[in-house]
Symmetry: C2
Subunit: 232 residues, 2 copies
DNA sequence: TTATTAATTGTCGTTTTGACAATTAATAAT
DNA sequence: ATTATTAATTGTCAAAACGACAATTAATAA
């Protein structure tokens, strides 16, 4: 078998920034690292890219293994490849961010891994360049969510406008006028109003909505303007 | 020295999709591949990531070596990592797209490499998954250029509104109303009108403009709406 | 029956958009 | 010299979107 002579070979890994929303705050899922160095320190979910899988495959495998979830929203972010980012040997890592419904996860929690949700603004220091990865992921999430309707991925199938509103405020770290927000979000045509109400949050109760999946998928690249005074 | 035992190692490369604009059409810079397999076939500019450089470093190095240009606009696109994408041995490649002023390049042309500009819509078939990379890069360029003022990178320091207009039409493969276009582009506040006119294209001549670099760099993440009926 | 609270619907002046027309500055033709 | 021609530039206007803000509604608690 021919080879490209003399070129160095490296390890290639994936790391996933997993975002979730508990109804009040944006959260991130971290695990205790299971191998040396930095064993038992908090880190992102990650793993090496196997011989017969693409990085995308690897990210899905890792997520499945550590959360039990399949088919979650996963998006490639960027590659992290500074020569010295891993002290043991050169490893390039492909960063992904994932959006999951935190409640779905809780049901399938796999206790083999010490995984834990942290408030995005109150999380432990992470190993290597994982802190930078989280910062980048947050920025990218904000960017993407301002233009594309992806935050639904973090909500249950039935959700209310007020829930969605809080989520947008959390992601963008800003206050949004409820009246203008609901006008914009409903004018996307992606929401279907249900008869049922959520009565847990208020006396009046808020109507549940669900996603119009047909429109959503047919139009997943839909380009909206979901944030006022959009600046990135 | 400790190692992560038993994990497979791979080659890591970079490939650059270099876009240019000749005043009429969007072009792409291709080179004849210099090594087996597929030697002498058209491919993207690429190279392996060296032991002491990041992928970003490698992309800049490759561009410098093959075009003589430094400091060009370069943006990481995504990683290409299907297990069988390279027939010789497993190689993951980080795709970049670059925007350069085609005239600047011509001056510095390095004849050691058989590089050639092709019309984006009339280019030869490329090796491996490079055709997919070009398609992805085009899409990403369109996306980015609709929101951020990056197309200036493909124009000379002095340029006219009609030139810019043609470039936008080329990138988006659509007709844009000249009147609305010039209103939008001037309202960004990024353009400084010069006294001089370009008289090569018409009797009346078109005023030159230059970029307000202060505003441009202070605001490189500026979020505009440069395309009508924006859909991606 | 009334006070309270949060959800929902509504108002309105300003700005932006997109479709379209008129004017201007130059050269070429008569 | 005057006029036709061409492309650049400036202008018009109605519709839509935006953002700041207020009023109404549906429920429970007092």
């Amino acid at each position: 078998m021919i080879e490209y002579s003399g070129q160095p070979h490296y390890l290639v890994a994936v790391d996933c920034i997993v975002f979730g929303f508990d109804g009040e705050h944006l959260k991130i899922l971290l695990v205790k690292r299971g191998l040396e160095p930095e064993i038992n320190k908090w880190s992102l979910m990650g793993g090496f890219v196997g011989a017969n899988e693409s990085p995308d495959d690897a990210a899905n495998r890792v997520l499945k293994k550590m959360t039990g979830l399949e088919g979650v929203y996963l998006e490639q972010m960027q590659i992290y490849g500074e020569p010295d980012r891993d002290p043991i040997e050169r490893t390039l890592s492909v960063g992904y961010f994932a959006l999951i419904d935190i409640h779905k996860y809780e049901a399938q929690l796999n206790d083999d891994y010490e995984a834990e949700w942290f408030l995005i603004n109150d999380r432990p220091k992470l190993i290597f360049d994982h802190n930078q990865m989280v910062a980048d992921a947050r920025k990218k999430l904000r960017y993407k969510a301002a233009l594309h309707p992806i935050l639904f991925e973090m909500l249950p199938k039935k959700f209310t406008i007020p829930q969605l509103h809080i989520l947008f405020e959390e992601v963008n770290d800003t206050k949004i006028d409820t009246r203008n927000f609901s006008r914009k979000i409903t004018s996307t045509g992606l929401l279907i109003k249900l008869a049922e109400k959520d009565r847990t949050g208020s006396k009046k109760g808020a109507f549940y909505f669900k996603l119009d999946k047909k429109k959503y998928h047919a139009n997943s690249q839909a380009f909206l303007n979901l944030m006022p005074n959009l600046k990135v």
